[in-house]
């Protein structure tokens, strides 16, 4: 079918007259999909949409596109809540989509066997999942990752960057510890650092802060981050001193890492905390150290907690002031709410309810910030099946394409490059808020995803990546599309996509190029962008 905005024939006076507005309104009503209805229902749709339209068949009626207005303003709607495809009717498959970086038949089978809670626990107890093959690959291909900063100091910056990026892609795509890597991604953004600024220091931060604590306790994670040379460098803490404190880290640890911007701190708290943290710095080639010589020993008050004046004779004990404040931060009720809200957004819904937030925040408080306990409470079988879909960010999209194509990998340098093309060069987001997790940010960048589908499906080099299409070509074109359904959509491919792929694959001769093009279209399809 053809989509066109060339509606001039129907609307010679394309403008914003009331007449046209009425007409457009009619189209708009017809367009309401079940999905957007469900989530914007409370806002406006409820009064406009007949109830019957909710009970829609899986193949949703295609909208009347020819009537699209040309000249009035069809503003793009940054919907953050898009209900799941009607075909996604298996609750446990929805769990698999959320707990992984791409649904596969093997994971669905495992989840069905273990049951809802069993599968959540299986993924949470990640150290019991044998990941030896993946770790062996990583150890062999990316040896810099296990080195200390002292050794990394003399390694080539480009090698460090590539090994960090490519190992992260490899693990995300091929590790069995899928939920763990979802959380590694989450915390890497929460404690974002730009490798252009921190260089090799990031290796230790990723290894000893993020990957070590991704499913641990939040207080341990926060404290590990606060003792990370990389974080000290990134947020200029290493340049702060008693004579002129630098406020960068003191601000962001409250705004972005713990309390949240509305968490109840003031500019005075920022200034005072920056004084508390003077002396937290780096020595040598990237080791955290407390330097009492540049610590501000005067008295300070942060968030109502007063730290009395000390003296340089206390030496290393000066670090206890900062440690005390870290405890204040992780125990603050705003932190519980902030972390709960952010984890809910990551794992459940872009728009968590106040009840959901207070429920998860109370789990944080009751368990001392146990990340596993919070996830267990978030991924429950009543909230998740009713949750809206989330748009895969490009990293997730790319990892899921690797999971679905199950290629043989010699090197991931091509995928490393593709991540940049897709607009998601991990470890290179320069500001400390991390890559956004907002539909409105990512949705417009769709053409690079379509181009990636072509790039991915045509990988066929033994020295790089091989996508083997033998199985797709073994039977009929119908069987090939069935296999695509299984491998890319967990057997829940929307009807519109199935119909489109069948039409496409049958429109040419059933050869390898045609099959690869069809796989490219599956990766490009609407349903493959969501989880």
């Amino acid at each position: 079918m053809r989509i066109t905005t060339g509606a001039k024939a129907q609307h010679p006076k394309v403008d914003s007259s009331a007449e046209q507005a009425t007409e457009v309104e009619g189209v708009t009503t017809e367009r309401r999909s079940r999905r957007s209805f469900v989530f914007f229902g409370a806002l406006a749709a409820a009064t406009m949409i007949p109830k019957a339209s909710r009970a829609q068949a899986p193949s949703r009626k295609r909208r009347v596109i020819e009537k699209d207005p040309v000249d009035v303003s069809p503003a793009i709607v940054p919907s953050e809540s898009v209900a799941a495809f009607a075909e996604w009717d298996s609750p446990i498959s929805r769990l698999v989509r959320r707990a992984t970086l791409g649904i596969t038949n093997a994971e669905v089978a495992r989840a069905n066997q273990l049951g809802w809670q069993g599968y959540v626990n299986y993924q949470l107890n990640y150290t019991r999942i044998n990941d030896a093959a993946v770790e062996a690959f990583v150890a062999q291909k990316y040896p810099l990752l296990s080195q200390t900063s002292d050794l990394l100091f003399s390694a080539a910056a480009g090698d460090i960057r590539n090994q960090l990026i490519e190992s992260t892609i490899y693990r995300a795509a091929f590790s069995q510890r899928q939920l763990y890597h979802r959380m590694v991604e989450f915390w890497s953004d929460h404690f974002n650092q730009d490798i252009d600024k921190v260089g090799y220091l990031l290796v230790a931060d990723q290894r000893d802060v993020i990957r070590k604590n991704a499913l641990g306790r939040f207080p341990d994670l926060l404290k590990a981050s606060a003792h990370s040379a990389s974080m000290m460098a990134y947020l200029d803490q290493s340049a702060s001193r008693n004579t002129a404190p630098n406020q960068n880290y003191a601000r962001e640890i409250m705004e972005l890492h713990t309390l949240g911007v509305d968490g109840g701190y003031t500019q005075t708290d920022v200034a005072e905390l920056s004084r508390v943290l003077t002396g937290w710095t780096i020595q040598g080639r990237g080791n955290f150290v407390f330097n009492p010589a540049i610590h501000d020993w005067g008295s300070k008050t942060v968030l109502g907690v007063t730290i009395p004046a000390g003296s340089p004779s206390l030496g290393q004990d000066g670090i206890k002031e900062g440690e005390q404040m870290l405890d204040v931060l992780v125990n603050h009720p705003s932190t519980a709410r902030f972390i709960a809200t952010k984890m809910l957004r990551w794992l459940l819904t872009p728009d968590p309810t106040p009840t959901q937030i207070s429920t998860i925040a109370s789990v944080y408080r009751a368990t001392g910030g146990d990340i596993k306990a919070m996830i267990r409470a978030i991924l429950n079988d009543s909230w998740l099946p009713a949750a809206p879909m989330k748009l895969k960010r490009p990293f997730h999209f790319l990892a899921s394409a690797l999971r679905s194509t199950t290629p043989t990998v010699a090197t991931l340098s091509a995928m490393n490059q593709q991540l940049s093309v897709l607009g998601h060069p991990i470890f290179s987001w320069d500001t400390p808020d991390g890559f956004p997790d907002k539909i409105e940010y990512w949705a417009g960048n769709i053409v690079p995803r379509w181009a990636f589908g072509t790039t991915m499906s045509n990988q066929n080099s033994a020295t790089s990546i091989v996508v083997d299409t033998t199985a797709y070509r073994a039977g009929s074109p119908d069987a090939a599309v069935d296999l695509i359904d299984q491998n890319f959509f967990g057997g829940e491919m929307p009807l519109v996509t199935r119909t489109g792929l069948l039409t496409y694959i049958k429109a040419g001769t059933f050869t390898d190029p045609r099959v690869r093009e069809t796989i490219a279209l599956a990766i490009s399809a609407n349903a493959f962008q969501w989880y």
């Binding site: 793009i76 940054p78 960048n445 690079p448 379509w450």
Partner: protein, 436 residues
């Protein structure tokens, strides 16, 4: 101007739409979430089209140090506050001295094309096409990059219910310059900047020179047909994105980026900012119907080793000014109806910190450039000075001009949009004579 477009306008001069109708036409049901109920009604008029400028909106992300971008050398406190990072006076003998603008403010050499002070932004300034606004910014006091950027882009402080950007609402409240343009707005970025959220037919395109779905040319139409069908029933915002994307792929395929020769011998820097402005220039000259472009330049968060003489701030300013200078020579000086305006979320502390840098502050500078801009001067409103007793919170240049006053005048006078209370809700702008 597009004749067809004007011919179509057999309508009354002002088509007043009720807010409800506007919402229905613009974005359907979900517009309720997009445009909060309190937004005023808008006026749609077509007769502005022939006089409208294209706007290029630049965001200097990170909180750009206005006291380095345009330094008040005649304020003695500038030198006492910045013992290691001040720019030497224009009348000094220092090799790194600044370039005098008006006897009070100066450009650092990075902004003026070097020691001779005849390059960079100087030609635009001397031609009175470049206006610098000083001690400007947001009246609300947020020192968070992310809050400050967000509210600046949204165009209304501290209102979480408003998610659209000011430029997005501008495009949504005015008819297109070309009715059939597939792409009205472009964010030269991998993700849509908040400034543009809510804009119809607007996409983020990181590299307009390479915007293709790839693969065999022979099968491309069939594959595009699949995508159009597959996304036809997609929910917003993916539906519009896919539709606009397929149309834009065709548009950009017809644009010759690689063979482009800028006018007046202009040379765009090869930086991402320079390349972005070059692409925007190509699109403008191609008459593709682009009305708004949002371009970002980072690197302004100079907490340490700022060094506006030779270091990181120097390089960032040089990139900024050389890119703008190329755009000026190539597009504005050649007579295209374009206004460029830049903002930053806040300025930086007056006093440098212990790391030869500056922490987050308040008052900043804006730049506005175009044939319709009353430039050649540094616009201030009761310059508050840098004496400690007059600093905001004892540390910052005060904000004396709300950035919306500048933008609103441009939106009304240069972009022909009368809906200022829709673009900048609740703000009653003061026109400061920014435009001619």
């Amino acid at each position: 101007m597009d004749d067809q477009h004007d011919a179509d306008c057999g309508c009354q001069e002002y088509n007043e739409l009720s807010r409800r109708q506007f919402l229905a036409t613009s974005a359907g049901v979900s517009a309720a979430a997009l445009f909060p109920a309190w937004l005023p009604k808008i006026v749609m008029s077509k007769n502005y089209s022939s006089t409208r400028d294209i706007i290029v909106s630049v965001f200097q992300r990170g909180g750009a140090d206005g006291l380095s971008l345009c330094a008040p050398f005649a304020d003695a406190n500038y030198y006492t506050s910045r013992s290691t990072i001040a720019i030497p006076r224009p009348d000094s003998t220092a090799a790194t001295k600044g370039i005098n603008l008006d006897g009070f403010f100066m450009f650092p050499q990075a902004m003026a094309g070097g020691a001779a002070g005849t390059g960079g932004l100087i030609p635009a300034f001397k031609a009175t096409d470049l206006l610098i606004v000083h001690a400007t910014g947001q009246l609300n006091n947020s020192r968070s990059h992310f809050d400050a950027q967000r509210y600046m882009e949204v165009g209304k402080p501290v209102d979480p219910s408003l998610v659209t950007g000011w430029l997005g609402r501008h495009l949504a409240s005015i008819p297109p310059l070309k009715p059939d343009a597939p792409l009205r707005g472009i964010g030269v970025a991998s993700g849509l900047q908040k400034t543009l959220v809510g804009a119809p037919r607007t996409l983020p395109i990181a590299d307009p020179t390479n915007y293709t779905i790839g693969g065999l040319t022979t099968t491309q139409p069939q594959r595009v047909a699949f995508l159009q069908g597959d996304y036809a029933g997609a929910d917003e915002p993916l539906h519009s994105a896919a539709l606009d994307a397929t149309n834009t792929v065709s548009l950009l395929k017809s644009v010759n980026f690689s063979g482009y020769v800028p006018a007046n011998g202009a040379v765009y820097p090869t930086s991402s900012f320079g390349r972005a402005l070059r692409s925007v220039a190509v699109l403008i000259k191609n008459d593709a119907g682009i009305e708004a472009a949002q371009v970002d330049i980072g690197g302004w968060d100079t907490h340490s080793a700022e060094d506006p003489i030779a270091g990181s701030m120097f390089r960032t300013m040089q990139d900024f000014s050389n890119s703008l200078a190329a755009f000026y020579a190539d597009v504005i000086a050649t007579g295209y109806s374009v206004t460029l305006v830049s903002v930053s979320e806040f300025g930086r502390n007056v006093r440098e910190n212990g790391s030869q840098g500056t922490d987050h502050g308040r008052g900043a500078v804006m730049f506005a450039m175009g044939k319709g801009i009353a430039g050649g001067r540094v616009l201030t409103k009761n310059w508050p000075g840098l004496a400690r007793e007059v600093l905001a919170d004892g540390q910052d240049l005060q904000v004396t001009v709300d950035y919306r006053d500048i933008l609103a005048e441009i939106v009304q006078q240069r972009l022909g949009n009368p809906n200022l209370d829709f673009v900048f809700p609740t703000w009653k702008p003061t026109m400061l004579g920014v435009t001619r």
